[in-house]
Structure formats: C-alpha cells, structure tokens
Symmetry: D2
Subunit: 146 residues, 4 copies
C-alpha cells in the first residue's frame, strides 16, 4: 500500500480541549486523554459505517466493548491548540478490531496509542462475529502499519 | 521476596462504582476505567509519602505527569460490587516510577494495567530526579514481579 | 419537628475531592460540584431504600430523572479537606421528590442546592406515581425546612 | 430591544452528545447537562472577548468562578440529534455576569438555565471589578429578558 493510500484511510477527528479538561498543572488531565482517543474512535465508526456506538448498541443491539488500550504520552495537551486525532484501523479479526490513534497539537505529536474492541451481542454481552454488512466496509479500511 | 512480603507492599484502594460511571451498555464506560486506576495511584501516593498529587504539585511544586499507560480489560465493571484496586510500585528509575494496578470485583479479575509517571519540576514542566526524601520511602516499596 | 429529629433525618455522605476534580484555578471545577451532590443523592437512595439508581433502574425498571437543580456556591471546594454532603428529603409529591444538599469542608459551608427527581417507568420513560413500598419509607424521611 | 436584536446577541454553540455522555437510561446523565451549558459559556467568552477561561485565567490572571447555577430539564438529551445551546448575557454587575443558556435538540426545548460568574483576581481568588476593556464589549451584549 502506498503512503497516499494509507493517508486516505486515516480519519481525522478534531477536538477542542477546554478549561474543564485541565488539571492544576494547567494541562489536560491524564484521564481525559483516553476519553479524547475514544471519542475519535466513536466518530470513526459514525464516519465509516454510519453508526456511532449509541446507535450500534441501541438500534442494532451490537456492543463493542474494549479489551485493551495502551497509550504513550509524548507532549502535554492544552487548550492552546486544536487537538487532531488520527484514527486508523490496523487489524481486523473474526470478532475484534484494532485501532491506532495519534494525537497532534500545533503539528507536534502529543500521544499515540492502540485500542482493541470486540463485537458482542448487546443483550447477552457475549462475543460474536463482526456482522457481514460491516465486515465488507471494514476490510477496505484496514491500514497495514509498516 | 516472599509472596507475603509482596502482599504487604500491595496497596488496596476501594471504589464505589456508580450509575454516573455507567454507559447505556449498563457497565462502567471504558474511559472511566483509567480514571479508577489513576485514582488508586493518587491514593497510593497519599498513603505512601503522605502527599497526594494535589499537595505534591501545589505545595511541593513537583509534578508527576504520565508518559505511559496500558490496560487489559478482562471482565466488565458494574455498580453491583465494590471495586478493589491493587496498586504495586514495580519499577523505580532515576526520575520515573512504574505501577501495576489490578482491579477486582466480587473476587474476579476485571482489569490489569501498567502506568508510568515521571517527576518534573512543576513550574517549568522539566524532568528532574526523584527527590531524596521520597526515594528513601519508594525504594522500600518496590515489588519485584515474578 | 425538633432540631434533633431533623438531624436524624439528614444523611451525610463523605467525598474525597481529588486532583482529577480540579481545574487550573486549583479548585474543584464548577461542573464537578453537581456531580458531587448527585453522588450524595445516589448514596441517600441506597441508604434509605436499599437501592441505588443503578439497581432501581436496571432491577426494578424505575427511572428517576431530574427535572430541576439549583446550586449556590459559597466557598471553593479543594482536595485539602474531606467534603461532607448533607442530604435531606424536603418535599414528597405524587411522583416527585425534592432534596436539599449542603456541602461542607473544614466546617465551612461550600455550597447548597436543591434537586428534584420524578419517578418514571424506565422502559417507556413516562411519569408514574411513587411505588407504595417506597412511599412508606419516604414519608418518614421528609424534613420540614424552617 | 427588538426581537431581531436579541437574536443577534444570542450565541449558538453546537455540541455532539456521545455514548460516553449517556447513562444506563440511554440518555445524557444529569451531571453532564451542566457540563454542556458551561462548555457553551466558555465558548461564548472565546467568541465575545477572544479569550476562553483557560487564557483568561492563565494569561490574564483573571478568574471567573461561578456563584450560582440553576437548570430546569424539559426533555431528555440523547446522541440522536445535535445539541444547540443558546447563550445570552442577561445581566452585568460591577463584578458579576449572569447568563441564560437554553438547550435544544431537534427543535425541541431540552433544558433552560441561568448561571452567574464573578470576576476575581486569579492569584488571590478575591473579587474584583470587571476589567474596563472587557466591560466595554460586554455592555453591548446584554440581552434584556422580556
């Protein structure tokens, strides 16, 4: 895959960091950063399959709980610049999806992380395969990391 | 180190999970779980050196931003049982500390994670060594993972 | 009603205010204060009828959405002292309950507010009367404000 | 003042309500609604004087803590529609400002509230007059409520 193709598959979600996100160190509180990355993934779903987590769960009865997250924090996040989250789908299993989320402010890397969700039947909270109608869309969105 | 000694060095922090922590899937929202683990680490500091992050930052002008966190989610967290977070200091560098945090409800493993903080001068947000008075306490708290 | 009787009917809920609750002004963020008061009311329910909002909603299919809240902030809230929330039931309607919540730190008044919930059928989100089994308990808990 | 003039003075702030904002009743959690209204007021400041709370506090050393908030909830807030917050400055004192915030989804009233902030010297947290350079702007923004 060319670099351009990878760029096309990257979804960019913009966040306005606010006073309410910051702690007395005058930076976004550590616990808020996973929230930002998760919000970007929620927006990725809405953009990619037309359903955010709320509609996927409530209307389609499909849950997608997380089984893993990891983040490295490179630079503090503040309200001084817009936060851009770059979301890529980097692996697709039978019932799981793995995302890379990179956060930039003022063209500088602030954080990078990986997040894994599994598909479950929302009513009984049991693992299930990714629905066919979504898999067809997802398979074309996978970005191979070099 | 004997298993008993490791147990003595493990700090247990209890959390009441509430309605406000839960999402429409009727479980604690993914983004809340890092908050729980971070709260347990904040309580560990207060227990271990007598200063929580607020006092450490505001009174001692020492910041301890996180550079890494990773979590595996094994079982959903709900308000049905108390959440017990088991915090261990598992590595001590020149200016960094690494924690293990394990979350249990009803004697079942819910999540496990690792968290790394670095010491900085709060005023200028630059890395610094761990203050001597704290290092003496911390060095006796390190639990070797088997 | 004697002052002593009123005191007996007041439920006290203790909260540990943390670094994560504070904004760059080094005080608990305004938006966190309603959270504290709501947490105290959730704890009041658990104490009073043995069911918190989660169990009331999920197990009993009874929702209690808020229709009103108002708060006056008298003094900043910080992590330096425990926060004590004094909860009183001050009015009981056919399908509504009104609470007074007063927050103190270090024996000083920090905030006071009133909060009104209505009982609804959780499945259809429509107003309903307060269930008899709860009303019997609630009617004995009403504190007349002087 | 004509109705048109009042409309011109009303600032509209759009919020995307998300899964993470919702509780097991599948609606935005009560405690999130003040957050939404406060976010709209923070955006109003940025729009009106070019400084949000973060810059006002950190760069100008001016704090604006809240002394009062009250809200009536008319209809549940969900992720199904964008939330539009209509912010008006409705009173201007020597050191205080009072806002009206009305929240709409799908052209239906969801909540309405009033919020009062006072100007303080951020360093010592003591009340002060509204700075002249801001007063000149603010005085032209006051909407008389009929």
């Amino acid at each position: 895959m060319s670099s351009d193709a990878a760029d096309e598959l990257t979804f960019i979600h913009q966040i306005t960091v606010r006073w309410s996100d910051c702690d007395p160190a005058r930076i976004a509180y550590t616990g808020r950063i996973p929230y930002f990355a998760l919000e970007a993934i929620d927006a990725w779903w809405e953009h990619t399959i037309g359903l955010d987590w709320y509609r996927l769960n409530v209307d389609e009865e499909i849950g997608t709980p997380f089984v893993h997250l990891s983040m490295d924090f490179r630079k503090t996040v503040t309200p001084r610049h817009k936060l851009f989250c770059f979301v890529k789908l980097i692996a697709l299993g039978n019932s799981s999806v793995r995302f890379s989320v990179v956060g930039n402010q003022d063209n500088q890397l602030c954080f990078e992380g990986e997040f894994v969700e599994v598909f479950v039947d929302a009513a009984i909270h049991q693992k299930r395969g990714i629905p066919k109608k979504f898999r067809q869309v997802l398979v074309e969105k996978v970005v191979m990391l070099r």
